[in-house]
């Protein structure tokens, strides 16, 4: 991890590419203005950063690109508040701030030899996308890779181009779904909420790790299905998204119980979540 003398001073980044993923959702590809910083920068899947628009403020997103791909970072966000609105107004060539990487990591090395089940909903695919590409870049280390991804409507699916890529790969089983009523006439994927589609495809739980990211309601209904399939809480991982500011465990905002989501998370197992007060 690169350490800077001023903890709060971000790297300066150039906005290199904007991809319109879905209504209100964009992916930014950012290059380090200082190439040496870019060369030295490294992170691991699961970590997040604070992205700045100078004058508007900072915003917390996971790093959505894979750590195996050097020289750039990506983030995906939905326009919702002050800073994301300012981000949405930026054009290619503009300058942003980037502060990170922060947080803990997915323990990929512990999953060697296991099968991986990725479950994501809507705008929660970005933290997983980083992990998925990381895994695919090290594909031979793992057994089966299954990805279940759902969104409200076809238009709301993000990373459409990459979904296409993943669906073409023989070493990945990809299942996409949209909520009932969200399908188009051309849609050939599943129709149904993520938990019920999960129940339908019934992946094996033996020697498998599940990673679940999505809105709280999706997680709430997915967890019992995973239990029924035989997953124990210590084999189910998720990422928490609390309101954050400093990202380094000082401002107090993300303090939940004795944990700081920015330091002890955002990656947690369900086993760990059970020990937290329900304040996230």
């Amino acid at each position: 991890m690169m350490s800077q003398p001023n903890l709060y001073k971000p790297y300066l980044m150039r906005l290199d590419r904007i991809t319109e993923e879905a209504p209100g959702v964009k992916t930014f590809k950012l290059l380090f203005q200082n190439e040496e910083e870019g060369r030295q920068f490294s992170f691991r899947a699961g970590q997040f950063a604070e992205y700045s628009v100078f004058g508007a403020g900072e915003c917390t997103f996971c790093i959505a690109s894979s750590p195996t791909r050097k020289g750039y970072v990506e983030c995906t966000f939905r326009q919702a508040g002050r800073v994301t609105s300012a981000l949405s107004d930026l054009e290619v060539g503009d300058t942003l701030g980037f502060r990170g990487p922060y947080g803990n990591v997915f323990p990929i090395e512990k999953w060697a030899g296991k099968s991986l089940l990725f479950i994501a909903g809507g705008i929660a695919l970005p933290p997983m996308r980083c992990l998925i590409w990381n895994v695919l870049d090290l594909r031979s280390k793992f057994r089966d890779v299954t990805i279940l991804y759902g969104a409200r409507t076809v238009a709301d699916l993000v990373y459409k181009h990459e979904l296409e890529e993943w669906s073409q790969r023989p070493d990945v089983k990809l299942v996409t779904t949209v909520d009932p009523g969200g399908e188009t006439p051309e849609w050939r994927g599943e129709v149904g909420f993520v938990p019920s589609v999960l129940e339908k495809i019934a992946p094996l739980s033996i020697n498998t790790v599940a990673i679940v990211c999505g809105p709280p309601i999706m997680i709430k209904f997915t967890f019992p299905v995973l239990s029924r399939l035989g997953f124990t809480p210590d084999t189910i991982y998720t990422t928490l998204e609390n309101r954050m500011k400093c990202g380094v465990g000082k401002c107090g905002r993300c303090n939940v119980g004795k944990y700081y989501v920015c330091k002890d998370g955002p990656v947690f197992t369900f086993e760990q979540l059970k020990t937290l007060p329900p304040e996230y």
Partner: protein, 340 residues
């Protein structure tokens, strides 16, 4: 370092302060501001108020100001340039007349700002601050330092510890090299004092509970919704308690800019505010005041000891004195400690 004890006459004390100020130190101490005692710039000993138990605000402003520039930025053509705050923004500071509880609070602040990663702004200020503490000869019913590991004559966090004696003189205990350097400003004035009885002059602050008991009981009381609701029903959710508290360090970060140049600032914040944990989506993990009140106490008495190995309360009582509706932390913590 064996504690050196000296007698400091009033004249010597005055001379010490004036010499320190003349040498460029910014001195702050308790001052009578129209009947309210609070920290203000002082230049001579006559400025210093001494008959009070405690000041309204804490001295944390010296290490963690209410507004602090993290860095500034400006445009040069199409490029953004980031500028650091200069060293000149961190003057040498002399805190004169803090209480032992305030000095002890520095350890709590340092735990927050330095665990895992070191906060450069806080450390720059800490390195340039000298703490001259005056022990307590009086306490009031809000004080409870002895219940949280402190005491009216404790030396933790102080560079010089002064105990008032007869005739305006002080017993001066030299605790650090910084304290030594300060006292060296008046070498001809301070005489050794080995036989002075400090303890008999200190205020009596009966211990009301032990911190370990409170930590254990409070952790168990987390789910007692009724208890937290009842305690917090009159709480208005303002930030007065957090802002006068010497150990509260939660902050917000915001940008101010005119489009060409601007600054990124950090400012005091409070877990008691309703917006503190609210997501942009509208979801708020601590939606009601009772959850936020609980967080305040749990953070200070359970989470901080667990995680940072230090309590988040020094028993100064300021929160209770300042609360508009008489939320009394000693009373509330004691009640939690009595929970079966």
């Amino acid at each position: 370092m064996e504690t050196e004890r000296r007698i400091l006459t009033r004249e010597a004390f005055d001379s010490l302060l004036q010499k320190a100020v003349a040498a460029g130190q910014r001195a702050y101490g308790p001052k009578d501001l129209d009947g309210r005692i609070d920290f203000a710039p002082i230049a001579r000993l006559d400025d210093l108020s001494t008959g009070h138990v405690q000041t309204t605000q804490s001295a944390k402003f010296a290490l963690f100001p209410k507004v602090e520039e993290l860095f500034s930025f400006h445009r040069e053509g199409n490029a953004q340039v980031l500028d650091e705050a200069t060293e000149a923004d961190t003057p040498e500071t002399l805190l004169l007349g803090v209480r032992p509880c305030d000095a002890a609070a520095i350890a709590s602040l340092a735990a927050i700002f330095n665990w895992d990663t070191r906060d450069p702004q806080f450390n720059r200020r800490l390195a340039r601050t000298t703490v001259v503490t005056i022990t307590c000869t009086h306490a009031d019913e809000y004080c409870f330092c002895t219940s949280v590991g402190g005491g009216p004559g404790n030396s933790t966090g102080s560079d010089l510890l002064l105990t008032p004696l007869e005739g305006g003189t002080y017993l001066a205990e030299v605790l650090t090299a910084r304290g030594q350097a300060l006292l060296a400003l008046v070498p001809e004035s301070s005489t050794p004092a080995n036989a002075v009885d400090k303890e008999s002059r200190l205020a009596c602050v009966p211990s009301r509970f032990t911190a370990e008991t409170v930590t254990a009981k409070m952790a168990v009381a987390f789910d007692r919704e009724g208890l937290w609701r009842e305690q917090s029903l009159r709480c208005l959710g303002c930030g007065a308690c957090a802002f006068v508290c010497p150990t509260c360090a939660c902050f917000d970060i915001s940008d101010e800019s005119n489009g060409i140049q601007g600054k990124r600032l950090r400012t005091w914040d409070s877990c008691g505010f309703s917006l503190f944990t609210k997501h942009t989506s509208g979801h708020n993990p601590r939606e009601v005041q009772s959850q936020r009140w609980r967080q305040r106490l749990m953070h200070k008495f359970v989470y901080m000891p667990d995680r940072l190995k230090v309590l988040g309360c020094v028993g100064c009582g300021r929160c209770s004195r300042s609360c508009p509706v008489d939320m009394n932390i000693l009373e509330h913590v004691t009640k939690v400690a009595e929970v079966k």
